[in-house]
């Protein structure tokens, strides 16, 4: 199938800022309302990188537009949370990972799964509740998983993925590995006990985890200012002696740079980082939520739409002569075709067989009998999914 994974870098990103010294870490990047940096001389490598980032974000956007359509047609059921408007954060952050790193996220997980390289066909089939889905139709929109991609799931309970990410990082340190765990959650999760419990342990034990707050300003319909005593939420890292950063989440390159620095810090020094990525959700919280009108105004939304992460990157690339309008149109046509292919594949795929109902409730046997090697997690894709187990 078409390769969709953005360029993953195993080398430090350029322009790294040194980790702040404990015990009073400072903000290592700040949000900016300014547009992307002015154009300059472009080299081949950055041009290729920028194209990949643009392709990924376009793919995410077109994919989720099709999700909304499929939801309206009843092909996708249950809850469905779209990432439209927030693509810069997931794409930028995941783009700096190695394949053997880990990603864990929330129920707003479609676009991150795609950024991590999970095939759009497998994601769409999961949303359609089909056996060919990345969770074999057992997870749905909120629970996308892929062992091959070390994608540890969309999790549906706000805050619950944060301690799990911390445990993944504990495991990395336990084994002496140099992987990292990237953990996404919304700004509303920082008021949850799980957030504080987990960050305390990560700070205490120096674990290689990067916590990315996707601050889209609203926990469902409750504005940050109405939910948090401290509005500058990255400051919460101070309580856990943890490096912190604030970044403009609509600027995919800034996200890439800031997360890249945090990843390096985690890899080499086993230090956690809390990053607040300031972004905005262009759609409602879920499919039942009107885009604007109750908790946010149309005027606010219109203002935010001017800072579309895809448009910003495109403008930046135009300025640097890295892409032409015709090439953008070509790219868009390609990802639209990919999404159409994913839709057709998902639509034509069979539902799970009914005997899947009681499969994978528990695993029979043990790791010692050779039937189900659990692997040590340091070799992504090395362990195949166990099968045939029953309750």
């Amino acid at each position: 199938m078409t390769k969709t994974r953005p360029i993953a870098s195993s080398t430090p990103p350029s322009g790294s800022v040194a980790a702040p010294a404990a015990p009073t870490p400072s903000v290592v990047a700040t949000a900016t309302a300014a547009p992307l940096p002015a154009g300059g001389v472009s080299d081949g490598a950055s041009r290729t990188l920028h194209r990949e980032l643009l392709r990924t974000m376009l793919l995410q956007r077109r994919f989720e537009e099709r999700c909304a359509e499929a939801y309206a047609l009843g092909k996708i059921g249950g809850f469905c949370h779209l990432y439209i408007g927030q693509e810069g954060t997931g794409t930028g952050a995941i783009s700096v990972l190695r394949p053997d790193d880990y990603v864990i996220t929330t129920y707003r997980d479609h676009a991150q799964a795609i950024a991590r390289g999970i095939a759009p066909r497998a994601v769409m089939a999961e949303l359609f509740g089909k056996a060919a889905g990345c969770s074999h139709g057992k997870g749905g929109s909120m629970h996308l998983f892929s062992r091959e991609h070390n994608f540890l799931g969309g999790h549906g309970i706000v805050g619950a993925n944060i301690p799990i990410a911390t445990g993944v990082a504990f495991g990395i340190k336990y084994r002496g590995g140099d992987q990292v765990c990237l953990c996404f959650f919304g700004e509303a999760a920082v008021n949850n006990g799980a957030f504080h419990e987990a960050l305390n342990m990560a700070g205490l034990w120096k674990l290689p985890v990067i916590y990315v707050i996707e601050n889209n300003r609203y926990g469902m319909g409750t504005a940050l200012e109405r939910a948090s005593a401290v509005n500058d939420i990255a400051e919460r890292a101070r309580a856990y002696d943890m490096p912190r950063a604030v970044v403009d989440g609509q600027d995919v390159l800034a996200v890439r740079r800031v997360v890249g620095e945090a990843v390096q810090r985690a890899r080499t020094d086993h230090l956690p980082t809390l990053i607040e990525s300031r972004t905005y959700r262009f759609m409602g919280h879920s499919m039942s939520d009107a885009v604007a009108g109750t908790y946010r105004s149309r005027a606010e939304l219109d203002e935010q739409l001017k800072r579309d992460p895809i448009a910003l990157l495109r403008a930046y690339m135009h300025e640097r002569d890295e892409i032409t309008e015709a090439e953008v149109a070509q790219l868009d046509a390609e990802v639209r075709a990919q999404c159409e292919d994913a839709w057709q594949f998902a639509d034509a795929s069979p539902e799970p067989a009914l005997d899947a109902l009681l499969r994978d409730v528990t695993i029979d046997g043990t790791a010692d009998d050779g039937r189900h090697a659990t692997g040590n997690g340091s070799q992504p894709g090395g362990a195949s999914p166990p099968s045939g187990s029953t309750s």
């Binding site: 619950a160 993944v168 336990y174 799980a194 419990e197 695993i363 790791a367 692997g375 997690g377 999914p385």
Partner: protein, 327 residues
């Protein structure tokens, strides 16, 4: 074979499993430097070091989740709750993460870990420290729940739990830690999901688990003096439950009393009685009776606590009733 305490049997199980598999580690409150609130982890820090015997802050939800994350990426954590009363704070991770990750991921990510600690009432600890949770926990598909009642079963079940590829909850008993019994040296595995007939008799079956096994055996001793010989079936694992063993004993004696530590409403006994009425309807000579904790939070006063708890006298009375010997 050696005569050792339940506490030392658990300690042996942990030590042996940590020696044979370096993916196994122990994490919880006071497990390392303090040597365990109940000394179950005595000496383990000295033998295995602080990477593998990890003291945590008082943060049950947090470290339960840390265990889940370590387990899904290949380690085999043993998470100690100082008591299961405190585990209520962690149930989101136990129920929503550990129990469901395998299923939600379509079989891709299993969670090989153990959550363990003392469960149920001890002596005069009051309402918040005296609760038996097995019926809550056995409700959840994806979990295995074991309740060892003797030192040998404590060792054998904990070792099997650590080797199991699923999340296994081990409910111990504070009042059991000092009890003694013969425990096989070295490799001693008790399979999960297999009940054990602790006493054989033909007049009535007492079906029980965990801490109540000793109570049932006391009752059996007393009853034997009156010429009443009972089967004492120790379920050992309550999920998955050994239905065949329940059916076998009831078909043999035609009468049953179900003895459980917790409250009656939606309790383990309710589940067992369902199995019995379905599979043994024509075998029964009397309705099945249940003995359980009084339907009240645990009181502090000695006499009230005694009145609330299931005990040998209440069990004997129930057996006599189902044998129509009580009039």
């Amino acid at each position: 074979m050696a005569l050792i305490t339940y506490r030392d049997a658990l300690n042996q199980a942990l030590r042996e499993e940590m020696q044979r598999d370096d993916r196994v580690f122990l994490m919880g409150e006071e497990v390392a430097v303090y040597q365990g609130a109940y000394k179950v982890s005595k000496g383990l820090l000295q033998e295995f070091g602080e990477l593998r015997v990890v003291d945590t802050p008082i943060t049950e939800l947090g470290f339960a989740g840390v265990g889940v994350g370590a387990a899904v990426t290949g380690l085999r954590p043993v998470i100690e709750f100082m008591t299961w009363n405190f585990a209520l704070l962690a149930l989101d991770q136990v129920v929503n993460s550990a129990a469901k990750m395998l299923y939600m991921s379509g079989g891709q990510f299993n969670v090989p870990m153990v959550f363990r600690g003392p469960n149920g009432a001890a002596l005069q600890l009051g309402a918040q420290h005296s609760q038996a949770w097995e019926s809550w926990l056995m409700h959840v598909p994806g979990l295995k729940v074991v309740t060892p009642g003797t030192p040998a079963d404590a060792k054998g079940l904990l070792k099997s739990a650590i080797r199991d590829d699923n999340p296994v909850l081990v409910l111990e008993g504070e009042m059991l830690y000092n009890t003694k019994g013969d425990v096989p040296d070295g490799e001693h595995l008790v399979p999960l999901g297999v009940a054990d007939l602790k006493r054989s008799g033909e007049h009535c079956s007492i079906i029980t688990n965990g801490k109540m096994v000793l109570v049932a055996l006391q009752a059996a001793d007393q009853l034997a003096k009156d010429g009443v010989r009972v089967d004492v079936l120790d379920l050992r694992t309550v999920r998955p439950m050994d239905e065949a063993a329940i059916v076998t004993t009831v078909r043999k004696t035609n009468r049953a009393v179900v003895l459980e530590e917790g409250w009656g409403a939606a309790g383990i006994g309710a589940h067992i009685v369902d199995i019995v009425q379905r599979e043994c309807f024509d075998d029964l000579d009397a309705p099945v009776l249940r003995v359980h904790q009084a339907e009240a939070p645990m009181a502090y006063a000695k006499n009230l606590e005694r009145a609330a708890k299931p005990d040998a006298a209440k069990t004997i009375a129930a057996v006599k009733r189902v044998m129509y010997l009580d009039s």
